[in-house]
Amino acid sequence: MNAARKGWLSSVALELWLPVLLVVIWWVASSQSTSVYFPPLSSILASFAQDWLEPAALVKNLFPSIQILSIGYSLALVSGIVVGTVLGLVAPLERATRPLLETLRAIPGVALLPIFIVLFGIDVEMKVLLIAFGSFWPVLLNTIDGVRGIEPLLLDGARVFRYGRIRRLTAIVLPGASPQIFAGARTALAISLIIMVVAETVGGSGGIGYFLLAAQRNFAINAMWGAILALGIFGYLLNIIFRIVERRVLRWHRLQQARLESHS
């Protein structure tokens, strides 16, 4: 076994020991439970397997969630990066809109659910827009900071060497702001997951949130716990995908930071 593989295994072990331990404790502690609200883990897992591991059930329960999350989150990313880049480059515009942006950002996305229902109904469009709106802010504000923080010498160089507008944007501004854009995108992902669940409790478009609320209303307590488990695993997998993309795109940044730390 080579060193890299060994390192990977030990990092997986480091990540998994606590969840595994907690599941074991849960399993043992709940095995004799007769409480309606805290059923034995074994029966929760049986219900989980039925609702979330069967391909047909998985598609039915999870696909609507993935759909609204991916569209809403993508909208937030694209609009946040575009608007953030413009505001980051045009300082007077940024100063003029900052107070408004800070106010809007402070409103939790889920608090706007009633307004969004009035404006956009209770279907997929409303849910997508609510996710997009709520997770737009961290992307926007981090992009602004990232763009404003670009090394001025790089911009001077771009002027002397006569880069066109597009080249300056793609070769200097966006890569330079990318570490902060990713920080914003990470926060936005967590927010969009929360809004997704809340938005799905409205209307009948399905998804994890809908399933969760329906299970609770029908006193299907095992199914309810199973849905919570599924939600946790879903969020965790999203985070892993995010980390893989970030590691690839920000490889230079990670290596450079590691080098700076080892030298100081």
């Binding site: 090394e151 010498l153 790089l154 001077d156 160089g157 771009a158 002027r159 002397v160 060497f161 006569r162 880069y163 066109g164 080249r167 070769a171 200097i172 890569p175 330079g176 990318s178 230079w252 940044h253 290596l255 450079q256 080098r259």
Partner: protein, 262 residues
């Protein structure tokens, strides 16, 4: 010394600059001919960087004008390359060395393949190989990084190469190496170079002419011809009587001004 009109690469005429009404440069007048190596020398804080930014077209002077081959420089014109003092900030940390060097070419319409080939040739000229070309700039030593910045300027095939204190952030040995590299490149490629420095030895060692700045606001104290020939050596040249005399003269020009103003 007069330069034939056709050979004038850069001319500063009555150049002056003020920040919020406070004048830092005043009535700067000089010409740089094609193929010349000219150093602008002056004490720290005299406004050398402001002057260089005006020469590069990065900043508009508040008085007078700068022209490149007869064309007034109100914005960066084609054919001007710039090497900054701080290599750790002027190179893109997210791009490989090769990409850093080829980007100005790509931005000016070169195809991917030819830009890469030109970048590798320029890197070879400054003594960097293909392994270094694949690395990130910050994985190299300071001197190597400044070589990358020089290669980026060379690949651009500049009409005028401007250098702002390019060797001020490296150690003394690296500095001597880079000075000799610049002398060799300037001679072999017939470059026209304007280098700004606060180091009198460096200015005299590298230049065909030294433009000495002094005073507040800074003016041209004198333009000193440096007839030391094309073949220069860190030890031999610097130990000649001629070098010592030139050095003393430039020193006097800069120091004399301080006594006059304080």
């Amino acid at each position: 010394m007069t330069i034939a009109t056709d050979d004038i690469t850069l001319a500063a005429r009555g150049l002056g600059h003020a920040y919020n009404g406070r004048e830092v440069l005043s009535d700067i007048d000089f010409e740089v001919g094609r193929g010349e190596f000219v150093c602008i020398v002056g004490p720290s804080g005299v406004g050398k960087t402001t002057l260089l930014r005006c020469l590069a077209g990065l900043q508009r002077s508040t008085a007078g004008s700068v022209s490149l081959r007869g064309q007034e420089m109100t914005e960066p014109l084609p054919g001007v390359a710039l090497v900054f003092q701080d290599y750790s900030r002027s190179l893109m940390p997210w791009a490989s060395v090769a990409r850093n060097v080829e980007l100005p070419l790509r931005a000016n319409g070169a195809r991917r393949g030819e830009a890469r080939a030109a970048a590798l040739r320029a890197l070879t000229l400054v003594g960097l190989d293909e392994i270094a070309a694949q690395m990130y700039p910050w994985q190299l030593s300071g001197g190597m990084q400044q070589r990358v910045a020089i290669a980026r300027a060379l690949a651009y095939q500049p009409t005028l190469l401007l250098m702002d204190e390019p060797f001020a952030s490296v150690d003394a040995y690296t500095r001597a190496d880079l000075e000799d590299l610049m002398l060799r490149l300037q001679r072999d490629l017939h470059l026209t170079v304007i280098l700004v420095t606060h180091d009198i030895d460096e200015a005299v060692y590298l230049s065909d002419r030294v433009i000495a700045l002094n005073g507040r606001p800074a003016r041209v104290a004198e333009i000193v011809d440096v007839p030391l020939g094309a073949d220069r050596d860190q030890v031999a040249t610097k130990s000649t009587a001629e070098f010592a005399e030139l050095r003393a003269r430039v020193h006097g020009l800069i120091r004399g001004s301080r006594e006059a103003t304080s």
